[in-house]
Amino acid sequence: MSLRVLWLQSGGCGGCTMSLLCAESPDLPATLEGAGIELLWHPSLSEASGGEVRALLAAAAAGEAPVDALCVEGSLLRGPHGSGRFHLFAGTGVPLVEWVRRIAAHARYVLGIGSCAAFGGVTAGGGNPTEACGLQYEGDRPGGLLGAGFRSAAGLPVINVAGCPTHPGWVTETLSLLALGELGAADLDPFARPRLYADHLVHHGCARNEFYEYKASAEKASDQGCLMENLGCLGTQAHADCNTRPWNGGGSCTSGGYACINCTAPEFEEPGHPFQTTPKIAGIPIGLPTDMPKAWFVALASLSKAATPSRLRRNATADHTVEAPRIRSTKYR
């Protein structure tokens, strides 16, 4: 099997491509080759430039050059005033949104790479000065550039490999499954994110879990404790496997010392409160774990806080371990 991929970038930062280049075990060229993925053109990786690329695009838009997977990175800029002039595709004078509409009409699959292309992302933040949207979503509302009813030639909606940036493994595994013909509608979650990573929560495998269990909370950036109570962590609600699938050899946001901002979700860019601050009512965080009844959470939290071992209480507000676990000798094994 093989998969011919055309990759376009619009109103994003190129970060999803830069993240993709960090693919490991095996590296990116080996992964693509092994999966039979052929890059028809990629703006950072291909030699072809200028006229060669304009010819390829024209052929793809006319349905004459087969594109198996159209990958779009970055949000789609419809402004100013619906003209698309905030992003004319260089050398063509034609808005990129127009190229995407034309090529998507023929592609077997269309993928939004990263939260910008999926939902609008950070580029759609604030007053959204560029009228940015995703391929098939505008924030959490279906629609976007291609419309809620859009289905690619293979009958699928736009596949949203959301994340800011997206993890290299999320992209290579999605493309590899498409190349094998093994990714269908049932493999996408309600926001059309591949369930291969979206059926997990960032909370799963978080190294701060012991602090979470006892509600031993960090109070300031660089503390070791749980980041949920005070520093805005959304790991218990965020759909991604960041703490079980490492980033850059072993990292994740929470292991890096800062809160999960739920970057795989629509509208993460406008949480309605300062990032890294937990909004509370009567001292209780308003955004509790999605699948836990609030009353139970409050009851359990007060119990576990009462039972917090001194080791966790002290370590939670320090930037390194000040009290190590005690060795307890027991004859019962």
Binding site: C164, A221, N248
Partner: protein
């Protein structure tokens, strides 16, 4: 005179279009356009000041840590904060890791593949260069990608992930280092050093950093022809005369970089044949040829405006035109090294100014100079001592964050009123290098560097133009933020 438009211009970060006036076989004039606008300065209005740490890295996926570092520095000034020694070292390590990874990406993935183009098929060096540097299939790209990914494990450990980390703070880093992690960091750096010494340089980093003249560089190249990709580049550069290609204004600026214990590894300043002090108050942005509404007089970024106007007459780019004391300046690794006073770079610039070869040489030299410093910074880390200082959110304050990204001088100017962002202005390195004309009609550095570039018969995407553009390692998404 013929007019040609070159684009899409790939293997640069972001979107770029170049309009050329061609007379005979030479470029007579150039206009540089970034045909993409996103509006981060507008998006930041009225946000919580600390939210900049989430938003500004997303300006750019290739230099997101640089954007974070500039924002953190601007906030630090606004909050009156200074990081503890560990925090300063951690911030240096993160910025250096990104900058060097950028230099590597640029050399192997963006710049060298042009020498595998069919236009060079008749050259004696072509077969070897194409096998090594061809995009996607060349042997070098694969080796470099693997080395880069492993080098970026430093980010995984010290910053959680890359790009778009949130670990950089006004008062240091959120990620303390434990004793055993310190030795892991040394192992990561040792592996990167091994790649550089074996594959890129074919020699010890210290030997490359010690090259102090053009003669020394030539002797070193001749000592072991073809050993290491740097020597392979120098041979091609000689064959093609890349030292005569892409000269701009020969006025260079650096904000200085990597503070440690009250000193900076690379000093700040201006170089126009002799060293001059840098006066950040003399920076102003001109809007005359930008799709931006605003006054005719250039404004200092602390009072700058970003109001897009796609219908503005005489405009041809989303990029503004920053000037220093009214003058065009070039920024980047070459500027950093000439301002800092590295003897090899001073001599190369004295002989040929800023040109395609010298820009690449400075970038690779910087890799050789900075990796040993990174090793020293890691050894200086003190596990158990603080990595981050803290202060309340500012209510009313202003601050500027001036850092050196891989591509050169990056400045953020922040004003806070009533606890919210009142104004936020950014001048990125490529904004300096790829600026359009100013009100006086003076072209920006790249526009100047393209004049005189050769155009071969029948070329619609002239390869010399590609070399010149890419010698700046442009980052267009930063340019138009």
């Amino acid at each position: 005179m013929a007019r040609i438009t070159v684009g899409p211009f790939n293997r640069v970060e972001g979107d770029l279009e170049v309009h050329l006036d061609v007379e005979g076989d030479r470029v007579a004039g150039a206009r540089v356009n970034s045909p993409l606008y996103r509006g981060f300065e507008q998006i930041l209005q009225d946000k919580d000041p600390l939210d900049t740490l989430v938003i500004v890295p997303r300006i750019c996926g290739i230099c997101s840590v640089s954007q974070s570092a500039a924002a953190a520095a601007a906030l630090a000034q606004a909050q009156g904060l200074e990081p503890p020694p560990n925090g300063e070292l951690a911030l240096n390590l993160l910025l250096a890791c990104e900058n060097l990874a950028d230099h590597l990406t640029h050399f192997y993935l963006f710049f060298m593949p042009d020498f595998a183009r069919p236009v060079y098929a008749g050259e004696p060096w072509f077969e070897a260069a194409a096998g090594r540097f061809r995009a996607l299939t060349g042997s070098a790209g694969r080796e470099a990608l693997a080395a880069r990914a492993q080098f970026l494990h430093l980010m995984g450990m010290l910053a959680g992930k890359w790009p778009h980390t949130l670990s950089l703070r006004p008062g240091g880093s959120t990620r303390p280092v434990e004793a055993q992690e310190r030795v892991r960091l040394l192992a990561i750096l040792a592996a990167f050093r091994r790649f550089l010494e074996h594959t890129l340089f074919g020699d010890a980093l210290e030997a490359v950093a010690a090259l102090d003249s053009d003669a020394a560089l030539r002797t070193w190249t001749a000592q072991a022809p073809g050993r290491g990709d740097f020597r392979r580049f120098l041979a091609i550069a000689d064959a093609l005369g890349l030292e005569r290609l892409g000269r701009a204004a020969d006025r260079f600026m650096s904000y200085g970089s990597y503070p440690a214990g009250g000193e900076r590894l690379f000093r700040a300043g201006v170089w126009d044949g002799s060293p001059r002090p840098l006066d950040p108050a003399a920076i102003a942005e001109d809007l005359s040829h930008s799709w931006m509404d605003g006054p005719a007089e250039p404004l200092h970024p602390a009072a700058g405006l970003t109001r897009p106007d796609a219908d503005r007459a005489a405009a041809y780019s989303w990029c503004k035109a920053p000037r220093l004391g009214g003058a065009v300046v070039e920024v980047g690794a070459l500027a950093r090294q000439v301002v800092d006073g590295h003897p090899l770079v001073r001599e190369l610039v004295a002989a040929g100014g800023g040109n395609v070869r010298n820009r690449v040489v400075a970038r690779l030299l910087e890799i050789a100079r900075v990796v040993p410093e990174m090793e020293r910074w890691v050894r200086t880390l003190r596990p158990g001592a603080p990595f981050c200082h803290h202060a309340p959110r500012p209510e009313a304050a202003a601050g500027a964050g001036l850092v050196e990204a891989a591509r050169g001088s990056l400045g953020h100017w922040l004003e806070v009123r009533g606890g919210r962002i009142h104004n936020y202005q950014i001048i990125a390195p490529t904004t300096w290098n790829f600026s359009p004309r100013d009100a006086g009609g003076t072209p920006g550095p790249l526009e100047q560097a393209l004049v005189g570039a050769p155009v071969r018969a029948g070329e619609t995407d002239p390869v010399a133009v590609q070399h010149i553009v890419r010698s700046f390692d442009p980052c267009m998404v930063c340019t138009v933020h």
